[in-house]
């Protein structure tokens, strides 16, 4: 069983866990009146969110084949995030980004690349002002495959490159109400690729680097972290 299967099971596990915890959580009745000290925390603390994002990938770097020969086009992500303990969260992301080749002499003869990724991040979120949430995270594991497609008038063909996701991310959410938020995301991807090439060009193919700027919507749920009282 390869790591992609592990990640898929992990994602399935996260979604199952979210479902189980959401249904298990009971909304405290009249808690605000009974314990005024909890008002602030009950407002911001969530179990997690689900999000869908449009992203604009921008390739970068003059030391990797992505930065030199590939141009970003568009993409989307679906993300689930769980707050494990107060501000600390774990998120799982699956998505696809689309790229076009602008220098075939540097990458090989193909026209476009479809990047399919799935990865897990851990991070920390702060709430600097009311209705605004800022989170930072990095990937702990993840898989990416690049489907490189060539198309001529008569024939289509493809080739696959694999790698491991290295992602460093940040987001700013603006809460429209207690559940819905619009978000602005940034991530820097510096994926480690499994491409084998001659030693004199190997450094070009070790990494695939690009920025992602995205916007999306989020649906927050729950009122407490997965382990709300672990340190209490």
């Amino acid at each position: 069983m390869n790591s992609i299967f592990h990640i898929k099971y992990f994602l399935f596990g996260i979604f199952s866990l979210i479902g189980a915890i959401v249904f298990a959580q009971e909304l405290p009745e009249n808690e605000d009146e009974n314990n005024p000290e909890d008002v602030t925390k009950n407002d911001w603390q969530k179990l997690g969110f689900g999000a869908i994002e449009y992203v604009q990938p921008i390739t970068t770097g003059d030391n990797n084949f992505f930065g030199l020969g590939i141009k970003g086009k568009s993409g989307f992500n679906i993300r689930a995030q769980l707050f494990v303990y107060e501000h600390i969260f774990v998120s799982a992301t699956i998505g696809t980004s689309y790229f076009t080749v602008n220098d075939k002499s540097l990458v090989g003869n193909y026209n476009k690349t479809q990047v399919n990724h799935q990865y897990v991040n851990i991070g920390y979120e702060i709430i600097p002002v009311k209705n605004v949430r800022i989170g930072l995270s990095f990937s702990v594991f993840g898989q990416v495959d690049h489907e490189n497609k060539s198309r001529t008038n008569t024939n289509d063909a493809f080739q696959i490159d694999d790698g491991q996701v290295r992602s460093y991310e940040g987001y700013i959410d603006y809460m429209l109400n207690k559940e819905f938020a619009i978000c602005l995301n940034y991530s820097y991807r510096n994926d480690k690729m499994d491409i084998v090439s001659p030693p004199e060009i190997q450094s070009l193919f070790e990494r695939a680097s690009f920025h992602n700027i995205g916007v999306g919507v989020k649906l927050y749920f729950g009122q407490s972290a997965v382990f709300p009282t672990v340190f209490e």
């Binding site: 003869n109 063909a157 694999d162 004199e200 060009i201």
Partner: protein, 218 residues
């Protein structure tokens, strides 16, 4: 249903070698060892649906080239250097299924391309009707196929700038002809003829210009 599934799978687009890039490099010079720029190089693989280009590029001002390409394990993997109308063509062939290069560098070294010349010939008849002319041109063709395996150049299977024989007979049906062919500039061409089955006579001449005219009357 299984047949449909098989059809869908077998008819899908071909997939080339995963996670692999190769480097194809070398230097191209002409017959006088002068570097040749702007020569196109294509790296091909052959599949059931036809030939696919894995990578391509062209030579620099100094005649060197270095092309990053996809790779395919194929019995008919080819690197083709096109001299187009100016130079001879060169083909590097290798069975990369059984004889891949481990370090992924396909270094062609120095590849010599010969400048081409067009020989146009006019044969006219001045002799009485019913005179028969049998003639033959012997000249070098303009393509070089070199087959490589793990031991290096396979001389048995390689064919490079081989001699071509062009034989014709002119008689009452077609007493005169104007044709042409492409050969190498600086090469020697033989013209052998026989009039009315008399003993053959051979003339040789060197192609010293890119548009060579050859006129013969019998």
């Amino acid at each position: 249903m299984l047949l449909t599934l098989f059809f869908m799978v077998s008819c899908g687009p071909p997939e080339f070698e995963k996670n692999t890039r190769i480097l194809v490099k070398g230097n191209i010079v002409d017959e006088n060892d002068v570097p040749v720029s702007n020569i196109k190089i294509n790296i091909y693989t052959e599949r059931a649906r036809g030939a696919f280009v894995l990578g391509n590029g062209s030579t620099n001002e100094d005649g060197s080239f270095s092309i990053i390409s996809l790779f395919d394990r194929d019995e008919e993997f080819q690197i083709e250097i096109y001299g187009e109308q100016l130079f001879s063509n060169y083909f590097y062939l290798r069975d990369t299924k059984d004889h891949p290069i481990r370090n992924l560098i396909y270094d062609l070294g120095i590849v010599k391309l010969n400048r081409l010349a067009q020989l146009n010939y006019n044969i006219t008849r001045t002799s009485p009707p019913n005179t028969q002319l049998k003639y033959a041109f012997q000249y070098l063709n303009t393509e070089c196929f070199q087959v490589f395996d793990n031991r290096g150049l396979n001389l048995v299977e390689s064919r490079c700038l081989e001699e071509v024989n062009l034989n014709r007979t002119l008689s009452e049906n077609q007493p005169e002809i104007s044709r042409g062919f492409t050969t190498l500039l600086g090469s020697v061409v033989s013209f052998t003829y026989s009039i009315d089955n008399k003993p053959e006579i051979t003339e040789t001449f060197t192609i010293d210009t890119e548009d060579y005219e050859f006129n013969f009357s019998y």
